[in-house]
């Protein structure tokens, strides 16, 4: 195997697949990166068996040559050394050569590394995902949906299913839901281009976080394919494959209150800043508690109090307060996460009582929903 490749292109591919490589893995060869050279291009693969990432570098694209002098073959290289070596090589191009004994020579300018490779035949086959049943969506919208939901997944292993985002596609509507049982984030998006339908597809939150990091905003669409235990996200040069979580995601739609007793309409940024200021005095050990009270007219009072530190009170003018008076306590971190996820100038918050979940939505729109369970103070 042999090829000469543009170093910058190789660096960014290596960085992408490294997102899936874990130094601790049950299968030792997965601590390496697999390289496969074909006449049409080079494919790099990294995997921790939960997430697998393939990055493809075409030999030539749009008249630009990325890879030359290709002799086909494959090899696995130690992920602990390979990325740093490539990053620090002196010239713009890198030559990689592998002999029959799996000895790898990496050459750039006057620098030459001789490394021991591993047999690519030993590298596990990635699960095959049938891409016939798939749908396309713009990458920026997918990234948006991830960012608006994934923060709400549970970090506790007590209910493993809640560590994932529940994805469904029904009646041309894609729906992401995440909850750690104290708050819930939900985002819907119409997908017109498909008649595909699935539900209870639970993707680990960690996978979606990594996916969000490696998807470039400048690429156009991503193709998504789902099987019963894998989900594949495919862009022009990238395959991102994730295991799904086993089990049934709890029914959450009925948990969302349908009527409200108190409705507040507020400027999102102002509300974020006020709660952020109040949360400075909320102790994390006691649940970051901040209190909100309606004060008549269009005035909200936001307070926080830690006896050993002190207290803070701030009045906030909002656009409207309708319905019953309200006093409610909540975890300010959940509130800030939710408000920041709502990409809108103004928000509408609907309360049904101090002991019941409340809902935050953009002022005009139903696509995003953030739900928070309050804190019952004694």
């Amino acid at each position: 195997m042999k090829f000469i490749i543009q170093r910058d292109t190789l660096i960014s591919s290596v960085q992408d697949v490294m997102k899936a490589v874990s130094p601790r893995t049950a299968i030792p060869i997965l601590t390496g990166i697999k390289l496969v050279a074909k006449q049409h291009g080079i494919t790099l693969t990294g995997s921790d068996s939960d997430i697998s990432i393939e990055s493809y570098i075409p030999a030539e694209s749009d008249g630009i040559v990325y890879v030359e002098d290709i002799e086909e073959g494959s090899i696995v290289l130690q992920a602990r050394y390979f990325p740093d070596i490539i990053r620090k090589l002196p010239e713009k191009t890198v030559e990689i050569h592998v002999d029959d004994q799996l000895k790898v020579t990496i050459r750039s300018g006057n620098a030459e590394y001789n490394l021991n490779g591993l047999d690519a035949e030993e590298y596990p086959q990635l699960p095959q995902v049938n891409t016939d049943d798939s749908f396309d969506m713009p990458i920026d919208l997918l990234k948006g949906m991830i960012k608006q939901t994934v923060f709400a997944v549970s970090t506790m292993e007590t209910r493993p299913i809640l560590t994932g985002v529940n994805i469904s596609l029904e009646n041309g509507e894609l729906h992401f839901t995440a909850t750690d049982s104290h708050r819930l984030a939900s985002r819907k998006l119409p997908i017109s281009s498909t008649s595909l339908s699935f539900s209870n597809i639970v993707v680990p939150g960690k996978s979606l976080n990594e996916l969000n990091k490696i998807l470039n905003d400048n690429e156009e669409t991503v193709e998504i394919s789902v099987t019963n235990n894998q989900i594949l996200f495919r862009t022009k040069h990238l395959n991102f494959l994730s295991r799904l979580l086993d089990g049934t995601y709890p029914e959450t739609s009925r948990l969302i209150p349908e009527q409200s007793k108190t409705t507040i309409k507020a400027h999102t940024k102002n509300l974020i800043h006020t709660i952020d200021r109040a949360s400075l005095l909320a102790r994390e050990e006691s649940g970051n508690i901040v209190r909100l009270a309606t004060k008549g007219g269009e005035l909200l009072e936001i307070t926080s109090n830690s006896p050993e530190i002190g207290q803070v009170t701030e009045d906030l003018n909002v656009h409207a307060i309708d319905g019953e008076e309200l006093k409610i306590s909540f975890n300010s971190k959940y509130m800030l996460d939710a408000l920041r996820a709502i990409d809108a100038e103004d928000v509408r918050i609907e309360f049904t009582g101090a002991m019941r979940p409340f809902i935050i939505r953009p002022e005009n729109g139903e696509a995003i929903l953030q739900l928070i369970l309050p804190v019952r103070t004694y």
Partner: protein, 416 residues
């Protein structure tokens, strides 16, 4: 705050120690007991009936705390033995701390019958000795209770001083007196040195407080860890702890334990005891308006071997049912089937409810929401009439007797 920020300033600390407190209170209630040998015992009928405290007349006959009733009677056949009346002691204690609070707000109750006060800032009009004399006389005249007062530049020395003269002692222990008054004492007599620590100290030829003061600090740290250095500092009269009026609020655990009338493997009996203990814990948590995040079970077997096992929880709990569930879980897991002598249940990582709140859960919040009407009614009434009007109810219930002198829950009552 001032006394916390200026530890370098010379301070004047009192340690007030009530003399034979329970016996003295009984004598104040019933003056005919005065001058007679009197002992207060946990339970005169059962074997756990041990002497809790006794009057000086009984002590003169050799009666000592922790003796069994039977042993005490043998030494002093005319001994009068009474069951404890904790409510009387609490009431007396409350009055005492009120009197201290009239002198300075910097008072720190330590237990039902002792406390510290920092009088540094109140000695303009009178000397420390005059204040102490007046306080001692006032407590004696108004409550008919004797106390000893130690006067010193810090808490440790004040505590040692109050111990030097009883009853009705008034002892000043200055730093320059340490070598003469403190160092000759056996190390066992030093506050903070228990039986175990004393034994360890003897192995490195530390017999007196003076030996401890002059021992090389490295050896002490090897033997006792950080506490070795702390004890040596105290032996040299150094103790920077401020008198902290809030210290009594810093409860980290709330527990209850009880010895069985006899060693048993009878699970019904043990289960009943667990119910009783968790009830005690629940009541005391309610009184403190607290909830905890960890439950500890202590089992003492017939051979005195004692184990403690605990379980950490995700959320705060405060009800008998919740505590019992965890305690029983621990019991099922860790009891080895041998007869047990004592059982203890403690809730740890305790916080005031006002500070924690309970994060509701989307799958279970309905349980709380059902009570919402009740909570909001309480809240609106509280706003109308000031403090939660239902809290006084809880206080009324409190006439039930505390079971040991270690319960300090009421010690901040003097502020009310």
């Amino acid at each position: 705050m001032q006394n916390k920020l200026t530890p370098s300033k010379r301070r004047i600390i009192f340690h007030i120690d009530m003399n034979c407190f329970y016996a003295s209170v009984e004598m104040a209630y019933n003056p005919s007991l005065k001058g007679k040998p009197l002992a207060i015992a946990g339970n005169p009928e059962e074997r756990k009936g041990i002497i809790v405290t006794s009057s000086y007349e009984a002590r003169a006959k050799g009666v000592k705390t922790t003796m069994t009733v039977w042993q005490a009677r043998k030494l002093c056949p005319e001994l009068i033995i009474m069951r404890p009346n904790f409510n009387r002691y609490r009431a007396a204690s409350r009055e005492i701390f009120k009197m201290l609070a009239e002198i300075t707000p910097f008072i720190q109750p330590v237990s039902i019958d002792e406390g510290y006060m920092d009088v540094t800032d109140v000695i303009q009009d009178a000397t420390a000795i005059q204040i102490a004399q007046k306080l001692q006389q006032d407590i004696l005249n108004q409550l008919d209770l004797p106390c000893s007062i130690g006067i010193a530049p810090n808490k440790f020395l004040a505590k040692m001083a109050s111990d030097m003269q009883k009853p009705l002692g008034l002892t000043i222990l200055r730093k320059r007196d340490i070598q003469r008054k403190l160092w000759p004492l056996q190390v066992e007599e030093m506050y903070g040195v228990g039986e175990k620590t004393a034994q360890k100290l003897h192995t490195i030829q530390v017999e007196t407080i003076g030996d401890l003061a002059n021992k090389d600090v490295y050896t002490l740290k090897q033997l006792l860890g950080i506490n070795g250095e702390r004890l040596q500092n105290r032996a040299n009269g150094i103790d920077l702890r401020p008198v902290d009026p809030e210290a009594i609020h810093e409860f980290k655990s709330i527990g209850s334990s009880q010895t069985l009338p006899r060693d048993t493997t009878d699970e019904i009996e043990i289960r009943q005891l667990m119910h009783l203990l968790t009830e005690n814990v629940e009541r005391r948590m309610k009184r403190k308006k607290a909830a905890g995040k960890s439950v500890q079970l202590m089992i003492r077997y017939h051979d005195r071997q004692t184990i403690t096992r605990s379980k950490k929880l995700q959320t705060y709990i405060d009800t008998k049912e919740e505590i019992l569930l965890i305690a029983n879980d621990l019991w099922q897991t860790h009891w080895n089937g041998e007869p047990i002598r004592l059982l203890g249940i403690t809730v740890q990582e305790v916080e005031e409810k006002a500070l924690i709140g309970k994060q509701l859960d989307i799958f279970t919040y309905e349980n709380e929401a059902k009570k919402e009407g009740l909570y909001s009614t309480i809240q609106s009434l509280s706003e109308k009439y000031g403090k939660n009007p239902f809290q006084s109810f809880q206080q009324e219930q409190d006439t039930d007797q505390p079971h040991t002198s270690f319960q300090k829950d009421f010690l901040d009552d003097y502020k009310k």
